[in-house]
């Protein structure tokens, strides 16, 4: 089954076309990396897919349920609010700069949404959270506040926070680019482990080696378009001059 389907997505900011015509399908268990130069629209694509931004035109479908569709006259129509709330539960998003809630402890950052948004029982949330803390190596940090953690630890907490709602798809927007180089490894390792567990993920990243090892598919974006899409071998072995130049920089 397709967990995510984007058809002919377009998005502009006051006259500037940022996404020209993006179509993309992601199947259950797939790991898709998005690479491309700065300003090519990678974050905008993720923000439109996670409905933080309204796209101008196109179709957005999660698990065969339409979140938005085109009216045929160049505009997107979004589903009613209640439908969107339900559809929204299918995905999670991990931000570049974590966006943890600074006034909540690690434990509360992770448990609050499952308890008070999804209204899951306390016992179940505790079980989930303890498991996640262990999985992400954060057991001894559950009472800490975000300001007491390193960047790598904060990013792992934010991954735990997203996973606690048990999304079907997890989006990452440059999860390691706000981190010191020596801290990226611990976050990449966690994402790798998720990939091994067949978590469906869409990852915007500048970590070429990581994308190559981990991805089922890599998307190369440039100027608001998907210039090339294929297996890591296809992309890294491509003779397209732009792609070679881009990859060569890393």
């Amino acid at each position: 089954m397709n967990l995510l389907e984007i058809n002919h997505m377009k998005k502009g900011f006051d006259g500037l076309e940022v996404l020209e015509d993006i179509s993309l399908t992601v199947k259950e268990g797939e790991v898709v990396s998005i690479i491309g130069p700065s300003g090519s629209g990678k974050s905008t694509l993720l923000r439109c897919a996670t409905m933080l931004e309204r796209m101008d035109d196109g179709e957005l479908i999660y698990l065969e349920e339409k979140a938005a569709w085109s009216d045929g006259a160049g505009h997107s129509v979004y589903a009613p609010k209640n439908d969107l709330k339900r559809i929204q539960r299918h995905f999670g998003l991990v931000f570049q700069n974590f966006n943890l809630f600074p006034h909540y402890s690690v434990w509360k950052n992770i448990t609050d949404a499952p308890l008070h948004v999804d209204k899951i029982s306390k016992a179940e949330v505790e079980e989930r959270t303890n498991k996640l803390l262990q999985q992400l190596g954060l057991e001894d940090k559950k009472d800490a506040y975000p300001c007491q953690l390193s960047g790598g630890q904060q990013q792992r907490v934010s991954i735990a926070r997203a996973l606690a709602l048990q999304p079907k798809i997890l989006f990452f927007d440059e999860p390691t680019s706000a981190l010191d180089p020596e801290l990226t490894g611990e976050v990449l390792k966690v994402i790798k482990e998720l990939a091994q567990e067949k978590m469906t993920m869409i990852i915007v990243t500048h970590e070429m080696q990581f994308a190559r090892e981990l991805s089922d598919r890599i998307i190369f974006m440039e100027q608001g378009r998907i210039q090339k899409e294929g297996s890591p071998e296809d992309i890294f072995g491509s003779d397209n001059a732009r792609i070679r130049e881009f990859i060569g920089k890393f």
């Binding site: 933080l52 709330k85 943890l100 809630f101």
Partner: protein, 216 residues
């Protein structure tokens, strides 16, 4: 007049001052939040009205506003003013005035919040109300404590303005005694009272700020 009696009279004036202080905060803090919503509303009319309100409340003397609230009902509508209305008028005047100042403090605090907090909350599925009351407001409170402390300390001193409509708070009382006895002592005693009052308020606000120091 012996000193004990003087303190007794000033003390009951002080109770009135404290009542004005407490009731003003009780009403103006929530009212200020509501006004700040209006001030930040997408609705242009609402925004313009609240902006005008804040501008007038901050741009004219509180003393004058108290007189308008007190005498307004008579001059505008011919309603006879009962003596018991004095205290109510003071609270209404103070609350309306201070709410305008608090509204601007709330607004600056709310607008200083990083958009990432809203976005994280939205993706996690929090409703708008949950986002505001659980995620945004607690952090705003921490951010605005210093300017709120300034206003609260000003309020302690401003309570003396209630004298313009002859509410027997501490300053009015001190003035009356001083005039009758031709002595400065009541004024000095009142000054000490205000100082202690303010000292306690400042200590409490400092305690609150400390309580919020558990995170950055």
């Amino acid at each position: 007049m012996d000193f004990g009696k003087l303190l007794g009279q000033l003390g009951s004036g002080m109770v009135v001052s404290i009542e004005i202080f407490m009731l003003t905060l009780l009403f103006s803090l929530p009212l200020g939040l509501v006004i700040s919503f209006g001030r930040m509303s997408k609705n242009t009319l609402l925004r313009t009205i609240t902006k005008g309100y804040i501008s007038i409340m901050r741009g004219t003397p509180l003393m004058l506003q108290l007189m308008v609230v007190y005498f307004g009902p008579y001059y505008l509508f011919g309603i006879k003013i009962a003596a018991s209305y004095r205290f109510t008028a003071v609270i209404v005047g103070f609350a309306l005035n201070y709410a305008a100042y608090f509204a601007e403090i709330y607004r600056s605090g709310i607008q200083s919040m990083p958009v990432g907090q809203y976005e994280a909350a939205k993706v996690l599925g929090y409703s708008k109300a949950q986002t505001f009351f659980k995620i945004i407001l607690p952090q705003v409170v921490k951010r605005i404590l210093p300017p709120v402390t300034n206003e609260v300390i000003t309020l302690v001193k401003d309570t003396s303005l209630a004298f313009v409509i002859a509410v027997s708070e501490m300053f009015t009382t001190a003035k009356a005694i001083a005039a009758a006895q031709t002595t400065m002592v009541p004024f000095i005693a009142a000054a000490v009272f205000y100082y202690i009052f303010n000292f306690a308020v400042a200590a409490f606000m400092e305690y609150l700020e400390k309580k919020f120091e558990y995170y950055r």
